[in-house]
Amino acid sequence: MKKSFLFISCDEAQHICDKAQYGEASGWERFKLNVRLIYCGITKNYSKKNQKLTENLEKADVKCLKTEERNKLEKHFNEELAKQNQG
């Protein structure tokens, strides 16, 4: 068996771990990540922290403005700012 077929680098494992947080890692990628998690402490630590971050983001249910909402707000504010600067 080729090493690169099943055994992935730490960087690749972290990349898969990132994709997995958004449900974008394939089954095969998750399998390779799980293999690496068995023997790599760095990947294990990263994965744990990454998962914890995802859980907290879900728990906090943080919100932000959509691009168009922010643009609208910015446009209105900049108009007022320009008026103030003129006056």
Binding site: Y22, L73, F77
Partner: protein
């Protein structure tokens, strides 16, 4: 000499998302939250001369926003507002008897304490987001909070997919470390 300076040119870029998250958890309506933030920025603009520089711009804007939120609740809790809520239950014959079901406590609903902790957690997350570079913050928010797909973000920010994942990786690493220092410890 004041510790903090004021520069309204960057307010929307730097603070609008933080203020939005703060507001939406308290008013639960995107439109109203946007209106309150817009009013806050305009009020800030008008009272800029009162900024002493003892607190940060963000803290100062939050203090204005808090007053705006209180004013909003005062307005909707006026006598007219209360009458409208009562009428909703008195005159609705079709849903007679439903009110008990609507009012019964939901064991899976969040308690006030949960809401408070989650609100503080949200503030802590935003404190950390503010510490990472602007581009990382923008990409992270679009991908993680707004749930935009990769292609949309790449098109909007003119970056490649691999570039996006590098940015996401850096952002997540920095945020996880920051949260560990500021929230868990």
């Amino acid at each position: 000499m004041p510790k903090h300076k004021i520069d309204p040119n960057n307010w929307v870029k730097l603070y609008s998302d933080y203020l939005f998250n703060y507001t939406i958890t308290r008013v639960n309506d995107r439109e109203i939250a946007q209106d309150l933030i817009s009013e806050t920025f305009l009020a800030g603009l008008k009272s800029m001369k009162n900024f002493k520089g003892e607190a940060s711009e963000r803290t100062w804007l939050i203090s204005i926003l808090k007053r705006k939120i209180i004013d909003y609740y005062r307005k909707i809790n006026s006598n007219k507002g209360k009458a409208e809520v009562r009428m909703g239950y008195i005159n609705s014959e079709e849903s007679e008897g439903d009110w008990l079901e609507e009012r019964v406590s939901d064991p899976f609903d969040k308690t006030a304490e949960d809401t408070l902790v989650n609100s503080e957690l949200g503030d802590a997350i935003y404190d950390c987001i503010e510490k990472i570079p602007q581009k990382q913050a923008d990409v992270f928010k679009m991908k993680t909070i707004l749930n935009y797909d990769t292609e949309t973000i790449c098109n909007e920010l003119n970056i490649s997919a691999s570039n996006l994942w590098v940015i996401i990786h850096r952002a997540r690493t920095a945020l996880a470390d920051c949260m560990e220092d500021n929230w868990f410890n």
